[in-house]
Amino acid sequence: MTKGTTRNHISRRHMLAALGTGASVVAMPWIARAADDTIRIGFPTPLTGPFAAEAKDQVKSAELAVKQFNDKGGINGRKIELLVRDDKLNGGEAATRTLELIEKDKVHAIVGSLSSAVQLAVNEVTRARGVLYVSISQSDTINEVKDFSKYTFHEALNPTMTAGAVARHSFKKGMKVAHLVADYAYGHEMLRGFKRAQAAIGVETVGEIMHPFGAADYSTFMPRLRSMRADVLCISNFGRDQANSIKQAVDFGLKQQSRIVVPVLLHNQRLAVAPEVFEGVVGGSNFYWGLESQLPSAKAFNDAYRAANNGAIPTDYGAYGYTGVSSLLMAMQASGGTDTDKVIAALEALKYDVAKGPQYYRKCDHQSVQSVLVLESKKKADMKSDNDLFSIVANEVPSEEVLRSCTELGFPG
């Protein structure tokens, strides 16, 4: 399995390098944009497909960050432009769009993508072309030395942080856990994150079921999940799979037997089913709008977002668009422009707090060290408004302790 993946990566890398060379030969100078001094940021994201709701929120948040910098006069007087492209949740499509953004649109940096696999495809291109990339989708492999690129900064949480925080706040020593996992990169990485945390706490795994990605019916997995008699049912999947699997687990009465826990509790998926279904479900998150009662930066972000979007509130994956673009622009400002090496140095030195408390990028793997939220879905009776979905169970302070160490990731000590 591992061998196959590695081979795949190398061949894709070669293919992309070849493609890139081809494109640069073909791309005639007059097709390229005029060399004005606008700072251009490419933003590939899956505007169509099952993650469309989350992707649209990402765009709105990214646009807000750009607007705020432009309103303040840009960076050294240079205006900023966001170039949004639909990657269709497909690695090949994302790589092509990214290459186009780099070769044809002459972007100074890329921010975006919303799937661990698609993000790695974008990473291959930006690494080969030496272009800055702020990635905003969960991944553990992007931190590892084999996929590391000095041009890439990982703004999103990673499964080690997310699953770890959820496990620390919902698992207790001696508990039994059953796992229902989506059979692709995201699910596998989350499962690994949970197991790592379980080992530290002393929690037993009583069973694992891998379900096909995008399954609509989960009824055939329920009898076996029930027979495992677990204290916790841990469901590691994303997007619509999350809403469907939790709904059906509840229909089959599994909530009476086990507490349901997910790595990432999604705002938009909770809205896709009734509050009774998600009631009591615990999961991690990078951002929840309710932080505004305790954090001035969250309040400022929410207010600006509301003003720009007819009173709508920002959501979890959407907020990555804001924090990711903001950190990049702050580093550009600090370095005085778009010189790649200077911006990298500025990003490595940057301390920022734009929406969710203090953050910084760790030097070795460029992972954003940041707070991790653990949320619990509210009972309908406790909801004060339609957006009052979750209560904050825990807010883990930013700490490198919860990350895998640089040596564990393969970086020289």
């Binding site: 995008g214 009824s219 055939t220 997995f221 619509r240 809403a243 469907n244």
Partner: protein
């Protein structure tokens, strides 16, 4: 592996199969009688779910949604037949296929514009929530209700096609439409009703699926694939085939989910490949 678990898994398979039967029947009827491969079947299933949700929220009752939406969308199906499909009769089988394929995109985009691309909750009717103890395990009451509805629909369809004059005309029309015209029977009216019936069944499937899955514009895509697999295994155009194949696929998926869960989706395509190798016309199909 204890017997209780296997029995429970068998039951889950039959219940899942019943849902597959319902979605495959509409597709099979339209192909069997009209020779039209309806690629908009999945989209109409989805439109049915939205219509059911809409009616249920207007009237405050799931039951009105269950009854009104299939009739409403069935009527919409008749409009599709009258204005879009009818001009294509007598031409190659690809023409209505391409037309309905395009129509499915129009329907999905239309629903996205009206209802948005996020999922919408469709609560289970309160009288049917909860689980029932089957002796070997627990099963949601709602899913047992769905099995009952499918059984009822199958019985009504059989009675309608085998025991009524209309059924006789439909069956004769499927076999020799020219002779029917010679005998002075207006076959185009029959086709209009049959298409409406097939679409109504798709939309009934959509309404019934609503409380089991979340309702979203893409929910029909997988359903279309499943319905095709079931009709191909059962034999294109054969109603008995659709019923047997639907239950068979449900049980095979369920048993696979027990022993190799990650294969649960792919197994139905493997089953279809095996059936096509051994009996290319499907289990109950007739060779053309």
């Amino acid at each position: 592996m204890d017997t209780e678990l296997i029995l429970m898994q068998l039951f889950s398979g039959v219940a899942l199969g019943a849902i597959l039967v319902l979605t495959a029947l509409g597709l099979s009827i339209i192909f069997g009688m009209l020779g039209v491969v309806n690629f908009a079947h999945g989209a109409l299933f989805m439109v049915g779910a939205y219509a059911g949700l809409w009616v249920a929220s207007l009237t405050g009752s799931f039951w009105w949604g269950l009854i009104v939406a299939p009739i409403m969308i069935g009527g919409f199906g008749m409009l599709i037949e009258y204005f879009l499909i009818r001009p294509l009769y007598g031409r190659s089988i690809d023409d209505p296929l391409l037309l309905t394929f395009g129509l499915s995109y129009v329907l999905v985009e239309g629903v996205r514009i009206v209802f948005g691309s996020d999922g919408i909750p469709f609560p289970t009717p309160s009288s049917l929530t909860g689980v029932v103890d089957l002796g070997v395990g627990f099963f949601p009451i709602y899913r047992i209700f769905v099995v009952g509805i499918v059984f009822l629909v199958v019985v009504l369809l059989w009675l309608g096609l085998e025991k009524t004059k209309f059924g006789l005309i439909v069956r004769a029309g499927a076999r020799d439409p020219t002779m029917m015209k010679v005998l002075g029977i207006d076959i185009s009216k029959v086709w209009l009703l049959v298409f409406g019936l097939g679409v109504g069944l798709a939309s009934l499937g959509g309404v019934l699926s609503g409380p089991m899955r979340s309702v979203n514009p893409e929910m029909g895509a997988l359903v279309l694939a499943e319905a095709f697999v079931v009709t191909v295994i059962g034999g294109l155009g054969s109603l008995v085939g659709s019923i047997v194949a639907g239950l068979l696929v449900g049980v095979v998926i369920s048993m696979t989910a027990l022993f190799a869960p990650e294969m649960a989706t792919i197994v139905m395509f493997a089953l279809m490949a095996v059936v096509l190798l051994i009996r290319p016309q499907g289990l109950f199909g007739k060779l053309a």
